[in-house]
């Protein structure tokens, strides 16, 4: 068709099953259905995109009409777009240890109720547990003749415990999400952990802000890698000039011990067998030995920016692919956790994450721990609550002076451009010098 140099179609259908239990009441439970497609057409000057709910696969004149519609949209674009060359191929989707679809919703509901009940405690005033299971069938085809299809199932749950005493309200929150199959049976007492944290936080104190030594647990250190490095390495932001990592390939921004990786092929929660524009997925070392090594790319940002590989395009069903992280982590070093605490001597130990945010152009990030402890003489002492860290991408990474040998990954979701996609973040325990800590405590 005239003017069209490329098109691709990504059609996703599926079901979402959810259960919501709030203080022993099954508030809602059931299944919903979705059917969403996106057709992208690359014309001479840019992309024309159709997002279609309830798409019926079609061919011939009917499909041509969709192409023409998308092409007309591209009529207002002004940018010359090139697409980088990519490797092709699709990874096998890891086998489900137990297919959630083989478990009745009644059984799921009763197992989730057990998780919720395990959060019972005299000081806990509210318990809430949510289960969600998402089965997707993805079909991809493009004008170059590439075709892929695969099915993915993601499932998991959250449990929240709220403790209250004399007007002081605190919460504990645990979550387990996976691509490996139904996981409720293995975690029936996770509510207990949430309750214990919520209750312990009633006696925790607010930390006084300032610069200090901080030990980060694998979950929080993973979020640190995601916020401090991951977003700023996204090729679309680099292309726009909205990342402080632009033009810094080959420059040192951290110590020799620091290597930060994004790997969509890793069988963790952010796994993709093939990316959202049909490129093979590949491990990318964003930082290698403290030096900026590569950006994450789509085909378009690869052609425009270089220095990295494509295969990092991700999208919610029916939404345009964006450069996104998948499984992002700090590689293990050779220190033991004991060595890290001993080296810290006096500071804070921070655990868990309530999320974070970054302004990649400014190079400033913030992230928040669920709780932590003061560290005195290398030992954890008083529990602390509501601690945030902020930092600057180009300087803070130098503060990572020790990396443990105990990397673990944690599942979560990441938002960008109005889309939320499953990711995992991970790291070993790390020691961060001169951490800028925000807290409302006073002496």
């Amino acid at each position: 068709m005239d003017g069209i140099s490329y098109y691709d179609l990504r059609h996703v259908t599926g079901e979402v099953t959810h259960i919501d239990i709030d203080n022993s009441i099954v508030e809602s439970a059931g299944t919903s259905f979705f059917n969403k497609a996106i057709l992208r057409v690359l014309d001479k000057t840019g992309w024309g995109i159709l997002q279609i709910d309830n798409y019926t696969p079609c061919s011939g004149e009917k499909f041509d009409e969709l192409l023409r519609k998308a092409s007309r949209l591209a009529g207002i674009t002004q940018e010359s777009v090139s697409l980088g060359d990519v490797s092709r191929g699709i990874l096998p989707v890891p086998r489900l240890l137990e297919d959630p679809r083989d478990v009745s919703i009644e059984e799921k509901s009763s197992l989730l109720a057990a998780v919720e009940k395990s959060a019972m405690h005299p000081d806990v005033v509210n318990r809430r547990a949510n289960y969600v299971e998402r089965a997707e069938k993805v079909r991809f085809s493009d004008s170059s003749g590439n075709e892929y299809s695969y099915e993915m199932s993601r499932s998991g749950f959250n449990v929240l415990a709220v403790a209250s005493r004399n007007g002081n309200i605190q919460m504990g929150y645990e979550r387990e999400h996976t691509i490996h199959g139904f996981n409720l049976r293995q975690h029936l007492d996770l509510g207990k952990k949430a309750a214990e944290i919520a209750v312990a936080l009633l006696d925790a104190k607010a930390v006084k802000g300032g610069k200090m030594q901080a030990v980060l647990d694998p979950e929080l250190a993973g979020v640190f890698a995601h916020e401090a490095v991951g977003h700023a390495s996204e090729g679309d932001l680099v292309q726009e000039g909205n990342s402080v990592l632009k033009g810094r390939i080959g420059q040192r921004i951290g110590n020799d011990t620091l290597t930060i990786v994004d790997d969509p092929g890793l069988p963790e929660f952010g796994f993709d067998p093939v990316d959202a524009e049909g490129a093979a997925v590949k491990r990318t070392e964003i930082i290698r030995g403290g030096i900026v090594n590569a950006y994450l790319h789509t085909r378009e940002s690869l052609a425009a920016v270089g220095d990295g590989v494509a295969g990092h395009a991700r999208a919610m069903p029916g939404e345009p692919p964006l450069v996104r992280m998948s499984n992002t982590f700090i590689e293990s070093g050779d220190s033991t956790a004991e060595e890290i605490f001993a080296e810290c001597r006096r500071g804070i130990f921070l655990k868990g994450s309530r999320g974070g945010q970054v302004d990649p152009g400014r190079g400033i990030f913030q992230f928040n721990a669920e709780y932590g402890y003061l560290v005195e003489d290398g030992q954890c002492t008083q529990m602390i609550r509501d601690v945030s860290l902020s930092g600057e991408i180009l300087t803070t990474l130098h503060g990572i002076v020790l990396c443990g040998n105990d990397r673990m990954m944690s599942p979560g979701y990441c938002g960008k451009g109005g889309q939320s996609v499953p990711v995992s973040d991970g790291a070993p325990h790390i020691l961060l010098n001169d951490a800028v800590v925000g807290g409302s405590g006073v002496d």
Binding site: V16, H18, D22, N23, V26, E27, S28, G30, T31, S32, F33, F34, N35, K36, G46, W47, I49, L50, Q51, I52, D53, N54, L73, A74, G75, I76, T77, E79, I105, E106, V162, S164, I169, Q170, M171, G209, Q239, E240, G241, N242, G318, P320, R354, G355, Q357, V358, D359, G361, R362, Q366, F367, R385, D386, S388, S390, V436, V437, G438, G439, S440
Partner: protein, 434 residues
């Protein structure tokens, strides 16, 4: 013009559902949107989206079921799934869905003159770029979106409401060295957004924040812009007024009705019929006719927000605060136009630390109200003018506590999403310098 456009399958769906359950509710939305995105100064892509979604809720002997689909032709499967879902729910006290009422039918958030096409989106981007050119910053990205949708709510008590909405949203990002600026605007009406100002403000903040200096840690009087205030209010304070959170033990206000919870000059209310506002609606997501709800009057907590589900359980009446985030899932408790109001005054004459935006407000503790965030586009301000920019600092505090010491509210108001807010002056807040 007939406002209820008879859709045969909806009538059939309700009739079919009533064979198995006490009550049936249908929510159907169909719409089209067009958007165009800038990369640097050029339009890089244009999108048209065709949205379509059906949500069904069933109630039988106090058990609530729900399901949704993009395909209205599959309403029978969706209804079956909703009824099956209800069998799993715990039976709870339930009053009933509302009956039909004679409500005025002129749409409140519909701009008949809005043309939803790529050419309009392009013109909006051009106007933003013209505004951006007033300051020497580089535009990194931007977006202009236009949308139109028809929303239908029907239930087995005879409610048949149809409403039409339009929407326009604009945003632009700019940078000077490592100083970023961001601005946005949104409305249901083309005449209520100012694309040139969106562009001008984005490049203004990028330029004005360059060469920022650090400040020492300490306690400072601060002025939160409506944007910064919305981040803290929306993440922490507004959820604490949600009746479901209150009765579930997830709100700090659970036992505070009738007591002072903020400075006496503050009032907070939901005004669903506020002329020209983005969230205005005559009926809520369950079909309950809307009305003004006063949550806090002169600092005293007077009411919480309820939908039918929560109100039924706790012997209350719905305050018509049911909202839907989309066609899927159950309605939940929210608001239409949440207003913070009170005595307005000049708040920027004396030297004060102005905070335009913040990074990380969503990590605030929604139960305790504790937060610590990084500041964005912060300045020393005096006599109504920006003075020296602040490069980087953290602000720590407690969202509930800071409302008890509000030192003043600006004369100007800005709408951020469905929040209608002034700038607020707050004395002695803790800043952590770098």
């Amino acid at each position: 013009m007939r406002w209820w456009v008879a859709v045969a399958w909806i009538e059939e769906l309700i009739k079919e559902g009533q064979k198995s359950v006490d009550e049936v509710e249908v929510f159907f939305v169909k719409g089209t949107s067009v958007s165009a995105d800038l990369r640097n100064q050029k339009i890089s892509l244009a999108t048209t989206a065709y949205d379509c979604g059906l949500g069904i809720r069933t109630i039988h002997e106090g058990r609530i079921g729900s399901s949704s689909t993009n395909n209205p032709d599959q309403w029978r499967e969706c209804l079956t799934a909703a009824i099956a879902s209800g069998r799993l729910a715990t039976p709870m006290k339930w009053d009933e869905l509302p009956d039909a009422r004679q409500l005025a039918q002129d749409p409140l958030t519909f701009d008949a003159g809005m043309i939803i096409d790529p050419a309009t989106a392009r013109r909006l981007l051009e106007e933003m770029l013209a505004g951006a050119a007033e300051h020497p910053a580089t535009v990194t990205s931007g977006s202009a979106g236009l949308s139109g949708a028809e929303v239908t709510l029907a239930n087995s008590h005879g409610v048949r409401y149809t409403d039409r909405h339009t929407g326009i949203s604009l945003s632009l990002e700019a940078i000077v060295s490592q100083s970023t600026g961001y601005e946005f605007d949104h409305s249901w009406s083309r005449d209520r957004v100012n694309p040139a100002m969106v562009g001008e403000r984005a490049t203004f903040f990028a330029c004005e924040s360059a060469e920022g200096k650090d400040i020492p840690s300490g306690d400072y009087d601060i002025l939160l812009s409506p944007l910064a205030y919305a981040e803290l209010l929306g993440n922490v304070f507004v959820p604490a007024l949600n009746g479901r959170n209150v009765h579930a033990g997830r709100s700090r206000f659970a036992s505070c009705l009738g007591t002072a919870v903020t400075d006496p000059q503050i009032s907070m209310y939901d005004d669903p019929l506020m002329p020209g506002a983005n969230g205005s609606s005559r009926w809520d997501a369950e079909g309950t006719p809307t009305r003004r709800v006063d949550f806090i009057r002169d600092g005293i907590l007077e009411s919480f927000a309820y939908d039918i589900r929560t109100a039924s359980r706790y012997g209350k009446k719905s305050t018509a605060n049911a909202v839907r985030g989309g066609y899927g899932g159950l309605p939940s408790i929210g608001h239409h136009n949440f207003v913070v109001n009170g005595k307005r005054d000049t708040v920027d004459d004396e030297r004060i630390l102005y905070v335009h935006n913040m990074v990380g407000a969503h990590t605030a503790n929604p139960m305790s109200g504790e937060f610590s965030v990084e500041l964005s586009n912060a300045f020393w301000m005096e006599d109504g003018a920006f003075q020296e920019p602040v490069r980087s600092a953290m602000l720590s505090g407690n969202v509930f506590d800071l409302h008890k010491v509000i030192g003043g509210m600006s004369r100007e108001t800005r709408t951020i999403g469905s929040l209608v807010l002034p700038s607020v002056k707050i004395p002695k807040q803790h800043i952590i310098g770098k």
